[in-house]
């Protein structure tokens, strides 16, 4: 690829540094994005895909055994009636939220840097929601009556209880999955047309062509398309905030000390975005180096994402502190006991793992060196993912294991099948993601082209503008 030259540094239209490096033009963007899809399958891909597929197989085994034998194969029991199942559910739903934040909220805020990462982040959302939906589905015990969750007219004349947050959750998460998939597909249509038009084999041409719906880049189509895209962003924004708020109400509406707090909805949403951005960084670090996309997904993108992690991590840290304050301020001995027990009881190890990963470690992102160092970003993103899984575990299990009745107290230990379900869900997630990067353009080509300076129909001739911008900047010093 072309070396980074001086003119790259200024976007003459926006008057600030360019988002895409390497002096790309429209065609070279297409080439760079299409290469991983059209080239030979790299060995590294198989090295990611096969272990993921094996873990997906493990999920199959674990879920089959669960169905065969019953919910007792997991370690949960009275009083810890929810454990890793719901921990995994909340963890995966939360992961998905960064994808929607990038695709919808940053779109509404006109953050053009999102175009390099939104496609992959939205794919991540969909796969994370798939993983999430497994757990409420399988944790019901009698899976053959899982349809009770949906308002389906039946011979018993029976309807679900719409006044319960658990049912709100069914609607919120399934509609979230649907809307995310629609949003993702609408964004893909122009890029599928690109893949169709570049196809060398009849099979590729037919398959991409089928899904491209005969897209011909017509401006009369783009007009409706842009309205649809903007509206989907506008709908997905309150939707994503509502989804994790509703997930938090599964807990907050109950009367368990440690769950029954009004801070939960904003605290869960901040935590979701926090963990989701960590997962985006994990995936993007791997993809950009594996597929040579470092001029499109630049260090600046990571810098921005690290800042969001710092902000949301600090919000989460505030929520942890505020929970303790309210536990004391409420004067309720049960509340106070639950929180003292959380930090100093049998699960203190989990609590302090959470604090170390979520509150202490992201503080390195105050430093630009850390925000632009790929190894630090990668390690931190893993820490945050671990920390956020533990956050859900701490909330769910520590609040339950000390019941109101001391004779019921117990200590939850996972079984091999709990572990298999968690690992298996990672298998599903990474299998889907591997297939995605191999068969679909993982960068929104049409959108990235719009942020190049030459995409503006009123762009000045490129040889004058950078100099002007540079002079203006020098004058400012």
């Amino acid at each position: 690829m072309a070396p980074i030259d001086e003119n790259d540094r200024y976007d003459p239209v926006a008057g600030r540094p360019t988002l895409i490096l390497g002096g790309h033009d429209f065609h070279s963007i297409t080439e760079a994005v299409a290469r991983p899809v059209e080239g030979k399958t790299p060995l590294a891909w198989w090295l990611c895909f096969l272990p993921s597929l094996a873990l997906l197989g493990l999920l199959g085994v674990a879920v089959s055994w669960l169905f065969w034998e019953g919910i007792g194969v997991w370690g949960l029991n009275v009083p810890v009636g929810w454990a890793w199942d719901i921990t995994n559910f909340v963890f995966w739903v939360g992961i998905g939220h960064a994808g929607t934040l990038i695709s919808a909220i940053l779109f509404l805020f006109r953050q053009k840097w999102r175009t390099s990462i939104n496609r992959a982040a939205e794919a991540m959302t969909i796969f994370a929601v798939m993983c999430a939906l497994i757990f409420p589905g399988i944790h019901v015990g009698r899976v053959w009556v899982a349809y009770f969750m949906f308002p389906i007219p039946n011979q018993m004349g029976m309807w679900p209880n719409f006044r319960s947050p658990l049912l709100w959750d069914v609607f919120a998460v399934s509609i979230y999955g649907t809307v995310s998939a629609l949003f993702w597909y609408v964004g893909l249509i122009p890029d599928l047309a690109t893949m169709r038009d570049r196809a060398k084999t009849a099979v590729r041409q037919r398959v991409y062509g089928f899904f491209a719906l005969g897209w011909r880049g017509s401006n009369r189509h783009w007009q409706h398309y842009e309205v649809a895209y903007l509206t989907l962003a506008g709908l997905a924004t309150p939707l994503v905030l509502s989804v994790h708020s509703i997930v938090s109400m599964d807990f907050a509406v109950s009367q368990i000390p440690g769950w029954h707090t009004t801070i939960f909805p904003p605290y869960f949403v901040a935590g979701a975005i926090f963990s989701g951005f960590a997962m985006v960084i994990t995936l993007m670090v791997i993809c950009r180096s594996a597929f040579g996309l470092d001029q499109i997904i630049t260090l600046r993108h990571f810098d921005y994402m690290a800042k969001i992690i710092l902000v949301t991590g600090t919000m989460v840290g505030y929520a942890y502190g505020m929970e303790f304050f309210i536990a004391w301020y409420s004067g309720s001995p049960y509340e106070l006991f639950t929180f003292t027990n959380r930090a100093m009881g049998p699960y203190a190890w989990a609590y302090w793992t959470m604090i170390s990963c979520n509150v202490i470690s992201p503080q390195v992102f105050w430093f630009k060196k850390a925000r632009t160092s790929i190894p630090i970003l990668f390690v931190m993103s893993i820490f945050v993912n671990i920390g956020m899984w533990f956050e859900r575990f701490v909330i769910i299990v520590t609040s339950l294991h000390r019941d109101f009745l001391p004779s019921a107290w117990s200590y939850f230990r996972p079984t091999i099948w709990d572990v298999s379900c968690l690992l298996g869900s990672f298998g599903l997630f990474f299998t889907m993601f591997c297939l995605f990067v191999r068969f679909l353009p993982m960068v929104a080509t049409a959108e990235v082209k719009t942020v190049l300076p030459q995409a503006d129909p009123h762009a000045h001739p490129p040889d004058h503008a950078p100099a002007t911008a540079r002079l203006a900047e020098e004058g400012a010093h």
């Binding site: 309807w159 709100w168 169709r196 719906l213 398309y225």
Partner: protein, 177 residues
């Protein structure tokens, strides 16, 4: 050969923009521009009206919300009135989340399928795909197409207008037999 349309290629978004202004001012009505990405301001340069899609989305979004609310109210007040955790049957505040979610679902489905409907997609075949260079529209080329069905269409005059407007390549695309 019966011409279906005339296809003109432009090299940059700026050239396409100026070309569209010329075609618009010449009074053509059945024509279109094709680009790999939406070109900012091209709607104005083509003299297009605003999209009516937002109205479709509004109606179906509100429809979704109304359906959600009525379903819940009907189930709990009429079809299956059970008292659970002391909540009233018509507990309207508890219906808000699902009402909202179904409103979003209605709006999102309306946005996607309304967009496809207004664009008359999917349409896998179109004469324009026979244009010799048209496959590059999805990569880095920009086109204006004027349909032969346009009242002002004239092989020579239209081609001349497009060349004068800055097209780098002009061709007649025949009707598919």
């Amino acid at each position: 050969m019966t011409p279906a349309l005339i296809l003109a290629e432009f090299s940059t978004p700026a050239a396409l923009y100026r070309g569209c202004e010329r075609v618009r001012d010449a009074g053509y009505t059945r024509w279109d521009a094709h680009s790999p990405f939406p070109v900012h301001g091209l709607d104005g340069a083509m003299g297009m009206k605003r999209s009516m899609l937002p109205w479709i989305i509004l109606v179906l979004g509100l429809g979704g919300a109304a359906t959600g609310f009525l379903l819940q109210a009907w189930v709990h007040s009429m079809a299956y009135p059970l008292t659970i955790s002391g909540k009233p049957h018509f507990a309207w505040p508890a219906y808000v989340p699902i009402t909202f979610e179904l409103g979003v679902l209605g709006g999102a489905l309306a946005a996607v399928f309304g967009m496809l409907g207004l664009n008359q997609l999917p349409r896998h075949h179109h004469p324009i795909f026979d244009g010799s260079r048209f496959s590059r529209f999805s990569d880095d080329a920009f086109f204006i197409s004027i349909e032969a069905a346009d009242a002002k269409f004239d092989r020579e005059a239209t081609a001349k207008l497009l060349s004068a407007a800055g097209a780098t390549h002009v061709e007649i695309v025949p009707e598919t037999p």
